[in-house]
Symmetry: C2
Subunit: 428 residues, 2 copies
C-alpha cells in the first residue's frame, strides 16, 4: 500500500473519484448502525437471563445476617454484596459501600458532596475561587460532563501507552493547590483500552498533593472486562500502594456490574479509606434510606462469588471478541500502510480508539452518519468536547451484531479514506 501523503495530486483525484462512487453505493444500502455508546448487545444481556429467577416466590429474601432485604435498613449494602464488589476491585469489604444501578451517580454524588460539604473538613469546593481537575485525554465523556457542570476547570493530560503522562500529573498535583481531582479509567481505559502500568500506579500512589482535599477518581469500570481471559492486563491494586505512602485517603474507586449483569439494572460500588467511607456515610444517611437490597441479593444469589463473576465474564468475552476482531481486521486490511490513521488493539474494555490525520475526525463522523453509521461525536473524548487535533474517534463495537459491525467498519474505513484524500487535496 502506498501512503496517501506520497501520492501526487492526480493520483489523489483519481482515488477520490473511486472512493466517492463506493460511498454513494454505501449510502444506497440505507444502513442504520449505532456504534456510539458502549452498550451491551442483546446477546450479552441474555447471558444473565437466569438472574431474574433466583428470587422467585420470595421464599428466602433474607441476607446472610438475617435481615429482610425487602424492608428498610442497612445503608452501606448487605455484606455479601459488599464482598462481591470488593472482590471485583481487589479491596476489603470494610472499605466498600454498595449503591444503586449507576456508578456514574456515585461519582456525581462524590463531586457534589465535595462542592457542598468539602472533603474531610476542607473548605467546600463551591466556596473556592478556582477548582481544577486533571483529565487524561482521550477519556470518558461523562466524566468530563460532570466536572463541566460543576464549573470545575479541566486540564488535558496526554495519555501514553502506560497511562497518563505522570510527569505532568506530578507537576500539577504536587504544586498547584487548586487541583482537586483527576479522572482515571485505569484498566482498559475509555476509549483507548490502555491499562496503567505498575510504574504509573505507583507514581499515582506516591503523589504529594499540594491540596489536602485532592482526590483520584479511580473509575475501575472495566476491572474484569477482559477480551482474552488467558492474556489479560493486570492492574496494580492502588489502595495497597497508597498504604505504603500513607496516602489511603487520596483515592475514591468506583465499579459496577453494568457490563456484567444488566447495563440498566446492575449494582454499583465505591471503595475508599475508612475515613472517607465515614464521611460519605454521614452524608448518605441524610440522602437516602438505603439502596435496593433486593437487587443486591439477586446479584449475589446469581453469581454466588467472584469466581461465578469471572466465569460469566468469559461468556461476555466470547460474545465481544469477534466484533472487536472484525473491526481490527478490517482496519488492518483497509488502512494499513496508508498513514492516514492509527488505532490501538485493546485486550479488554468496550472501545477501539482511532486517531485520524489532524483535522479529520469531525468530517469522518459526519460522513459516517450520512451513510447510516452513528459514531460517538468527534471531540467527545476530550474535555469541553474539544479535541485539540480533531483526530480521535471512539468506536464502540459491542451493540451491533458481528455482521453489522463488519458493515460499519467497512463504511468507517471508506469515510476515513475519503476525508483524508480531501484533506490532502485541500493542502495540495
Amino acid at each position: 500500500m502506498k501512503a496517501y501523503k506520497e501520492m501526487s495530486k492526480s493520483e489523489l483525484l483519481e482515488l477520490k473519484n473511486e472512493l466517492e462512487k463506493k460511498f454513494e453505493d454505501a449510502k444506497g444500502k440505507g444502513l442504520t448502525l449505532d456504534m456510539s455508546r458502549g452498550k451491551p448487545s442483546k446477546e450479552q444481556l441474555d447471558l444473565s437471563n437466569d438472574m431474574m429467577d433466583v428470587l422467585i416466590g420470595s421464599s428466602d429474601m433474607k441476607a446472610e445476617n438475617g435481615m429482610d432485604v425487602r424492608n428498610y435498613g442497612i445503608l452501606d449494602g448487605i455484606s455479601e454484596a459488599k464482598k462481591l464488589m470488593a472482590d471485583i476491585m481487589g479491596v476489603s469489604s470494610d472499605n466498600v459501600i454498595v449503591c444503586g444501578n449507576a456508578s456514574l451517580n456515585i461519582m456525581y454524588d462524590m463531586v457534589s458532596r465535595a462542592m457542598l460539604f468539602g472533603v474531610l473538613g476542607s473548605t467546600p469546593w463551591s466556596k473556592l475561587d478556582k477548582v481544577k481537575f486533571l483529565c487524561p485525554a482521550p477519556g470518558y465523556d461523562r466524566h468530563f460532563a460532570i466536572t463541566e457542570l460543576f464549573g470545575i476547570e479541566m486540564i488535558n493530560i496526554p495519555m501514553t501507552a502506560e497511562g497518563p503522562d505522570m510527569d505532568m500529573v506530578e507537576e500539577y498535583v504536587n504544586n498547584d493547590e487548586s487541583i482537586k481531582g483527576i479522572w482515571c479509567v485505569p484498566k482498559y481505559s475509555n476509549p483507548q483500552g490502555v491499562t496503567y502500568s505498575d510504574e504509573v500506579v505507583k507514581r499515582f500512589a506516591a503523589l504529594k498533593p499540594a491540596a489536602k482535599d485532592f482526590r483520584i477518581f479511580w473509575d475501575n469500570a472495566y476491572a474484569i472486562h477482559d477480551l482474552y481471559p488467558d492474556d489479560k492486563d493486570e492492574l496494580l491494586e492502588i489502595f495497597a500502594e497508597c498504604k505504603k505512602n500513607g496516602n489511603e485517603n487520596m483515592v475514591y474507586e468506583f465499579c459496577s456490574t453494568s457490563k456484567v449483569s444488566y447495563a440498566g439494572a446492575g449494582i454499583s460500588a465505591i471503595a475508599a479509606s475508612k475515613e472517607n467511607i465515614e464521611q460519605i456515610l454521614k452524608i448518605m444517611t441524610i440522602q437516602t434510606i438505603g439502596y435496593d437490597k433486593v437487587n443486591m441479593l439477586r446479584h449475589v444469589r446469581y453469581f454466588k462469588d467472584i469466581n461465578g463473576v469471572y466465569k460469566h465474564m468469559e461468556k461476555h468475552a466470547e460474545s465481544l471478541r469477534p466484533k472487536f476482531e472484525a473491526v481490527l481486521e478490517i482496519f488492518e486490511r483497509e488502512l494499513s500502510g496508508l498513514e492516514i490513521g492509527s488505532w490501538i488493539s485493546p485486550k479488554g474494555g468496550y472501545f477501539i480508539s482511532f486517531d485520524s490525520m489532524e483535522g479529520c475526525a469531525k468530517d469522518i463522523v459526519a460522513m459516517c452518519k450520512e451513510a447510516g453509521v452513528t459514531l460517538t461525536g468527534a471531540g467527545a473524548t476530550y474535555p469541553y468536547k474539544k479535541d485539540p487535533k480533531d483526530s480521535n474517534i471512539r468506536i464502540a463495537p459491542s451493540f451491533p451484531t458481528d455482521e453489522e459491525m463488519r458493515s460499519a467498519a467497512e463504511i468507517f474505513t471508506l469515510c476515513v479514506k475519503l476525508v483524508s484524500v480531501n484533506k490532502l487535496l485541500e493542502n495540495a
Copy 2:
C-alpha cells in the same frame, strides 16, 4: 376517670406507688418491641411475593415502546411506569420522572441541585447569605435532616386539624425573600395523619412568594395509604389548583411505592411543571445514565394499572387496621379522662401522634426504652430535634405483630401515667 391534675398529693403518691409496681412487672417481661420507624411488617412485604415472579426467564423484557429495559437508555423512566406513578399522584405522565428506590433521595437531590445550580435561573442557594424553609411541625424527621445538613434555617409552623397554619405560611412566603421552601406531607401527614383541607391546598396554590425560587416540597408519601378504603380522606390535587393561579412552577411533588411494594426496593417519582422537569432532566442527564428500568417494568407488570395498586392497598389496610385500632383502643381505655395526653385517630398513613403533658415526652420515651419498647426519639418530629413543648411522640404501629402492638401500647400508656404523675408531684 378522675383527671390527674385534680388529684391531691397523697392520691398522686399512692398512684405513683401502684404504677411503679406495674412498671417493674412490665420490665420483668424482658420485651423488645420496636415502634420507632414506619416500617412495613413481614406480612405486608409478603403481599408482593408474586412480584418477584413476573419477569421470570426474561422472555419479555421490553417496555411498551419496544425498548429493552435491561440496557442503558431513557432518563425519565419507561412510559408505563410514568403512567402508574402519575396515576398515584393524580397528575399527567408528562409531568413525571420515575427514579430509584427512595423518594427521599429525590428530595435530597432537589435541594442539592437548588443549592448548587439554583432554580430556573435563580442564584444558587449556596451563594445566598440566608436560606430558610418553613417546617410544619410536628413533621417528618428526615425532611428536617436534609435542610439541616444544607445549613438551611428551619422555621416551625404549627399544624392544625386542617394542615399547616396558613396565615403564618402566607405571612412568611409572601413577604420574606429568604424563604425558599416548605416541607409538606399533605395526606395523612407524618406523624399526625392530618390531610390538608381543600381550603389549605387552595391557599397553598394561591401563594404569591416573595422569592421566585420558592418551592413547595409536596411529599405525597401516603397518597393511597388509606386505612379505611370506604372512608378515606380526599386530597385536592395541587397542580390543578396551581394552574388556576399560574403557579405551576411552585410545586415539586414526590411519591414512591416503598409502602406499596417493598420498602427497600420500590420505585419513586417526582411530579413537576414542564419547566421544572426540563431543568431537572438537564442536570439528571449528567448525574446518571438512568434509573433501574427492570424494577420499573416489574412493578408495572405486577400491578398492571392504578386499579391493581388500589386493590393491593386494601390488603395493606387489612393488615394495618388491627394494629392501629389496638393502640387507639388501649389509649382510650387507659388514658381517657385523665387529661395527661391527647392523640389523633388517623384514617391512613403510618403513624399515631401522641401529645403528652408539657415536658414529659423525653421521659416517656426513655421509660418505654427501659421496659423494652423503642419509640422514635422525642423531639424527632421537630426541626433540630427540638420540640418546644417536649410533648410530641410518634408511634409507628406497622412493624410489630398485633399482639406485640398491644403489649407495647400497654407499656406506653403505663409510662405516660407514671411520668405524668411524677411531673405533677414535682410541681405539687
